[in-house]
Amino acid sequence: MLLIKRVNKEGIKGIMRGKRKKAILTIVLILVTLVMIFPLLWVVILSFKTSAQIFSEPFILPKRFDLTNYIKVFKVMNLSILYKNTAIIGFFSVTLSIIITFMSSFSLSRMVFKHKKLKDYLYNYFLLGLTIPPMILLFPVYRLTVSMHLFGTYLSLILPYTAMNIAFNTLLFVGFFNDFPGEVEEAAIIDGCGLRRLCTTVVAPMAKPIISTVLIFNVLYIWNEYPFASVLISNTEKYTIPMGSAFFKGMFSMDYGGLIASSVIIMVPQLIFYGIFQRYIVGGMTAGAVKG
């Protein structure tokens, strides 16, 4: 009897301790989260203050939601052109890179190489691209673009963006194909299915989840890309979103309100995009890094 009582007491104590531990951990996690998202909230708050207030009384909360900054930015910043350019470049580049890397990854994973080593070499050759600092490519790509008479056109960015995504797409696609059983494909081949039909009607539909992940990543890359755009685009009519943002940093260098509002305007659609595709983004990024 005494023993049972003691066990019970221990048990309750244990549960209590577990609960307290959980409460502490929960509080720690909430604090970490708040610290992490605070900078984003701060700029949103600042964006409702006038430039003078931001400079003279940065720590006082805005008394009312002043929309002057936003109105000004919408007047100066031609958002529709920025989004249109980014969308055109993104559409063609992402389509192109997904099609070509789908093809190359499928053959790297499935087709029978005469020289087995060659397959590994090619795979590694593509993977090296993951870690190359883009800085070293900017000037050579600029020279290449000029020599091909593409400078200032959409193609000047479509091609390097496609190239930059090849490494990442290869990592994800090859990883997916390697994990995926090939029986359905074999059956289709026995039924006399050619390579093109095999890819378009059998493999591509099965690879939908990984194609979505790759798609979202490539879109995000182009949406955020600044270094290449800054070197290859000089005409404001062809500016992409990050270029527009940098341009307004220059323009608003003394106008903090405008600078902050323009940043918030760039940031919010990205947050919505992330909110919708969060599963794919988090999954794809870690799969790319961990799975191989």
């Binding site: 720690v28 190359i132 600092p133 390579l195």
Partner: protein
């Protein structure tokens, strides 16, 4: 699959990727290395100067500053991201109700355009109108306010390292979490029964089993540092007087703002070589995993 593996099919499937990748990435690297041995100002023809650019690097004060700043950023970012990313992953591994929401929120910074990240932190770190110093003054700790950016000290490098940390913490923690989730619960349960405490579990079970994940994280953090450009240009533009320059921003400035492309490419080549060493580690780990 065997009879579809004809040379013609190989060509169709592989040539587009190989061609675009080779032309834009691989050949470009060699072109950059070639230019690093020349003097080229943007017009006319480049002039071969041999190792002159590299010799100049050794005596260029700003290059040394950029190199040391990059070193500071690397070390600080590496230590903070590996240690705190790992701890955060363990926190997210606990069965807490709100962990899903928190994980999603902590992950946000990596998604936002770096060009915007620079602006956001400008209004946190600026010595006069930034949040931190005003907050410190507000709570009476004004003595601790510092010139986090824009002064003649090397605090800016630490600030940039912190921003890099902030941007990548959620990402790195998620990678660690994926690794931790792959360790079977049974191992922990067995350890738990034996009355082993959390710390011992970490040292003897979790960390040894995460060896590959840790290597990947290190490589991602290191090679990621060599991709940072916009955050610095927006935050300090390398200033004042090149004091907050990193290898990447200095190479960019020398090439595209000063127009000394040959010299700029020699800085880029050095950056590339450092990064390449880590890339080879990465490829090595990925290949081991594939088998």
């Amino acid at each position: 699959m065997h009879h579809l593996s004809k040379s013609r099919n190989f060509a169709i499937m592989l040539i587009p990727s190989v061609a675009v990748y080779t032309l834009y990435i691989v050949i470009s690297v060699f072109v950059a290395i070639y230019y690093s041995f020349t003097k080229y100002s943007g017009v006319g023809v480049e002039k071969w100067v041999g190792l002159k650019n590299y010799k100049r690097l050794l005596t260029d004060r700003y290059f040394i500053i950029a190199l040391s700043n990059t070193g500071i950023i690397l070390v600080v970012a590496l230590i903070t991201l590996v240690v705190l990313g790992f701890l955060l992953a363990n926190l997210l591994h606990q069965k807490l109700k709100i962990k899903g929401v928190c994980q999603a929120l902590i992950y946000i910074p990596i998604v936002i355009a770096p060009i915007v990240v620079g602006v956001i932190w400008l209004f946190i770190l600026d010595p006069s109108y930034g949040f931190i110093n005003n907050f410190l003054r507000y709570i009476g700790l004004g003595d601790y306010s510092r010139s986090w950016i824009g002064a003649k000290n090397n605090l800016a490098a630490y600030s940039i390292a912190f921003i890099y940390f902030w941007r990548n913490l959620g990402y790195i923690a998620t990678i660690f979490l994926t690794g931790i989730n792959m360790i079977s619960d049974e191992i922990y349960e067995a350890a738990g029964i034996d009355g082993v405490n959390w710390f011992t579990k970490m040292i003897y079970i979790t960390i040894p089993m995460l060896k590959e994940t840790i290597t990947i994280v290190i490589v991602l953090v290191v090679t990621g540092v060599f991709k940072v450009l916009e955050i610095v240009t927006q935050l300090t533009n390398g200033g004042p007087n090149h004091l907050s320059e990193t290898l990447v921003t200095y190479s960019y400035t020398v090439s595209f703002n000063t127009g000394e492309y040959g010299y700029g490419m020699s800085i880029a080549t050095v950056t590339f070589m450092i990064s390449l060493v880590f890339s080879l580690f990465y490829i090595n780990v990925i290949n081991k995993k594939g088998k």
